[in-house]
């Protein structure tokens, strides 16, 4: 990391050559580290798609590679959101699927490697994380130098905040979009520095790719205009800025409208208006500058005052008029929830019910970034000190990123890159200062003026050898302690990755009392049962969390899934779950439901089950049917959420309660059943009876329970009385069967 002149030679080879060789090797090892640390889950479990959303992406990818691209864009999926269906082709970001589809085709047809599409999907995120590291290197290099770049690259490669979303199998939009985010920013900085149309066009192209891949592209749409705006306010207008921004905006906006899901949003929605405004402003500025270069200062000031008042008046009124006319969509709910964390809780329970939309807890920052989090402000401070145009970008990004990460857990992801970049800047600055041991050793008589970076310390040490020793010791101490921190950082990252982020959540690992680990595979057991043993057009009702998984693994039609586009439909499912059997049966029959699936963790002690999500179901359906569903009714008299003997009547009558605890107490041999999640006893005497559903399947650990909806009774009785009658008539029936003496073979 010693800067040397390009002509210097080492063993007859130019230092520059050695350096670039070393850089390539370092790159390869960084990418290797980034990829391999993401493979814990594959090694520990298997090559499997994780979580919920990736299952949809995986399913869509499979559709893409088995159909044509145009079929994919026009894909109407009638296997979800029954009976509405979903215009899937027009409501997804196709970037991810297209990427893996293209890779699949290239591998298959060009390289004769017919790799299974599932493996490509599983490995996509780690592969792209390697590219992210490289993009981060280039970005940071623009900020400081290549030393900082390499540090940033390795930080980016192993920072848990990013790994959390990009382990093997986490086949989600974020997997590739962080790479694209970094690349876009890099090209933006480059374009802005050089004023090059070429780089601005590249920025626009990567922006387009980003738009096609992730809804988070709005972040770019707003941060680049903000950067330009701040620069304008700081009086740093230049023609380069004009060139870079105008080119990016014109091309990028046009390109982004090619994505069906985005459509005309860039000119209609308020989220995108800032970019348009800055675009207009920049035109005025450029004109203003042109005028300014020709006329005197005073004249110009007056000119400026006039035109700016006029234009801003025009712009604001146009914005209001258009919003009022409905041409521009008002800000979306998710957007509001970014500013007011309580907004979602009050207005849109469905957004609030997602755990990754919760505000971030403080320890999460340290957990996800470890030592980088305290280097981060230092890096930002250094940016302030230098404050070139690109540093302004870092500052804006870090402020916005920190805020958003604080509001929503999942936006930790967008903060992580900037943390890595600024921490790398800080750390490399520090290394620049403290690693200069060579100068200390040889600088006895010389006046080494190059050593400007070392600042005070180098000045202080010069007088005597004693001081020199001290300075070496102090430098070594600092270096060693940081080396220790770095090692600890790597350990922490590995630990976090392997323990916290490598679980596929479809498969659970458990430890027996003797320390042996076993795998709990109930989800797949249930889904595979559905896939194998139900009619192909069976409709399965489950809470929306499991919609994508049912679609992907069980291949059955679902009512609702994780694409929560229709709140009413979700509320309908919620209502069916939380109302009594009679009410629920009407809903089930109206929606042609054949099977109902619930997650029940009471036997296993799995806390993420449906009963724990039950209150959200109640709340969401209460939002639609406030007079039929009341959250209060589900609490016991003391106002507690109880499932034991004290549970309220509404609770005990609800379909969810009954399905969860149906025949649960039978397991305990005549005693009360113990729910191990809620630590409450289910009284034997109150074991629920089901009249409108039949138990169809329950998995090994009772995690998933599937019920079949009974057909309408052919005598026309309601099912409740029919069940009672059947119970009493059971003996009679048996006799009837016995009565048949000889066989009657009729073919």
């Amino acid at each position: 990391m010693v800067t040397s002149k390009p002509q210097e030679k080492l063993f007859g080879v130019r230092v520059e050559t050695i350096r670039s060789l070393l850089r390539v090797i370092i790159f390869i090892s960084i990418a290797g580290a980034a990829i391999s640390s993401r493979l814990f889950s594959v090694i520990r479990y298997e090559s499997i798609i994780h979580e919920f959303d990736p299952w949809f992406n995986f399913r869509a990818t499979k559709y893409l590679v088995t159909h044509s691209f145009y079929d994919f864009l026009n894909w109407f999926d009638d296997r979800t959101w029954y009976p509405l269906g979903r215009v899937t082709g027009g409501t997804l970001y196709p970037g991810l699927m297209v990427t893996s589809g293209v890779i699949w085709h290239i591998l298959r047809e060009k390289l004769a490697l017919p790799v299974d599409i599932r493996n490509i999907c599983v490995m996509l995120a780690p592969a792209f994380s390697g590219l992210t590291a490289i993009a981060t290197y280039f970005l940071t290099k623009e900020m400081k130098d290549s030393n900082a770049g390499l540090l940033a690259a390795i930080f980016m490669g192993i920072a848990p905040g990013y790994i959390s979303r990009s382990v093997a199998g986490s086949y989600d939009n974020e997997a590739i979009s962080i790479t694209l985010l970094m690349a876009t920013f890099y090209f933006w900085i480059k374009a802005m520095k050089l004023g090059s149309i070429y780089f601005a066009t590249l920025t626009a192209l990567f922006y387009f790719y980003m738009v096609s891949a992730w809804g988070g592209y709005v972040f770019i749409t707003n941060i680049i205009p903000l950067h330009v705006f701040v620069l304008l306010i700081m009086g740093r207008y230049s023609h380069r800025l004009y060139t870079a921004y105008s080119t990016w905006y014109a091309l990028g906006t046009l390109a982004s409208m090619q994505i069906p899901f985005v459509g005309f949003l860039p000119i209609r929605s308020n989220d995108h208006m800032a970019a348009l405004g800055v675009f207009g402003l920049l035109q005025l500025f450029s004109f203003g500058f042109y005028v300014k270069s020709k006329v005197t200062g005073k004249q110009f000031r007056n000119f400026l005052v006039f035109s700016s008042i006029f234009v801003s008046f025009l712009g604001v009124s146009a914005l209001f008029a258009l919003t009022a006319l409905g041409w521009i969509a008002p800000w979306t709910g998710r957007f509001y929830s970014l500013w007011d964390t309580n907004y979602a809780k009050i207005h849109i329970p469905i957004i609030a019910s997602v755990s990754e939309h919760q505000p971030t807890a403080w320890p999460a920052f340290f957990f996800d970034t470890n030592m980088l989090i305290w280097l981060f402000p230092a890096g930002v401070y250094l940016c302030f000190q230098e404050l070139r145009d690109e540093h302004v970008f870092i500052i804006i990004y870090s402020v916005l990123g920190s805020y958003f990460a604080g509001v929503m857990v999942r936006l930790m992801l967008t903060l992580t890159p900037i943390i890595c970049v600024s921490a790398a800047i800080a750390l490399s600055k520090m290394f620049d200062v403290y690693m200069n041991l060579v100068d200390v050793l040889k600088s006895n008589g010389e006046d080494n003026s190059e050593e400007t970076g070392s600042g005070k310390k180098s000045k202080a040490k010069r007088p005597s050898t004693n001081d020199k020793l001290f300075s070496i010791v102090s430098k070594l101490a600092v270096l060693l302690s940081f080396a220790f921190y770095l090692v600890y950082f790597v350990l922490h990252c590995t630990w976090v990755t392997s323990n916290a982020y490598s679980s596929p959540s479809v498969v659970l690992a458990s430890r027996g009392p003797d320390g042996s680990s076993s795998i709990i595979d109930d989800y797949r057991e249930a889904y595979y049962w559905l896939r194998m043993n139900t009619p192909e057009d069976a409709k399965v009702m489950a809470w929306w969390d499991y919609g994508y998984q049912i679609g992907g693994m069980a291949d059955r039609t679902t009512l609702v899934d994780n694409n929560t586009w229709n709140n009413t439909h979700i509320a309908t499912v919620g209502k069916a779950m939380c109302s009594s059997e009679e009410v629920a049966y009407d809903i089930l029959k109206k929606h042609d439901v054949d099977y109902v699936l619930v997650i029940f963790g009471g036997l296993l002690g799995y806390s993420g089950d449906d009963l724990n999500k039950f209150l959200w179901m109640v709340r969401i359906s209460e939002g639609i049917w406030p007079e039929e569903v009341h959250e209060r009714d589900f609490f016991s008299d003391k106002g507690l959420y109880k499932v034991d003997g004290e549970a309220s009547k509404t609770m005990k009558d609800s379909l969810m309660y009954k399905m969860s605890y149906y025949r649960f107490t039978d397991l305990f041999g005549g005693r009360d059943g113990i729910d191990r999640v809620r630590n409450q006893a289910i009284p034997l005497s109150q074991s629920p009876k089901l009249n409108v559903l039949d138990e169809a399947f329950t998995t090994q650990n009772w995690l998933v329970r599937i019920y079949k909806v009974k057909d309408l009774d052919n005598v026309g009785r309601d099912l409740h009385s029919a069940t009672k009658f059947d119970e009493s008539a059971n003996d009679m029936k048996r006799k009837r069967i016995i009565k048949k003496p000889a066989l009657d073979l009729r073919e």
Binding site: K193, L194, G195, S196, I197, Y198, A200, T201, A204, L205, S238, H239, R240, Y242, T243, S246, T247, Y249, A250, L251, T253, L254, A255, M257, Q258, F264, I267, Q283, L284, S286, F287, Y290, V291, S293, K294, V295, K298, Q299, F300, N302, F303, V305, F306, S307, F310
Partner: protein, 167 residues
Amino acid sequence: MVKKESKKKEVSKKLSASNSSGSWAFPLKDVVSAINITYDDYIRTLTPRLKLVDQFLVFLVVLGILQFIYVLLIGNFPFNAFLGGFISCVGQFVLTVSLRLQYNLDTTNTSEEEIASKDTDSDSIAKTEELSGSESKLTSQVTPERAFGDYIFASLILHFTVYHFIN
């Protein structure tokens, strides 16, 4: 857009002048004179090449305005077609302005006479600019040929997207 802006401003100035009080009259004169000076300067510095570029710009502006009027009068039925057309005008305009700026940038630090022989002398220009601080050092890397190449590259992408957008 430079011209359009200027016209717009002039109109606006007249409007504001008609209903503003006397205290505004003095700065207003400044503004008018500023525009006049700029215009004169513009005419003075015009070279054949820049003139060609500017004519193209005017053409784009007119085309854009025509499309806009069409939409206002007849309606925006194939909305993406209109958008495609309109944005292609705006995009091309912006790109051309950028190109013009990059051409112009080389001339700003040198005397106007050198413009004609700019192609041959670009090296010396780069040298002179190297002295004038780090910022312009960066821009000096953008030679006119490079700028034009970039311009064509960006325009190609722009029109490909527009073509795709319109179907």
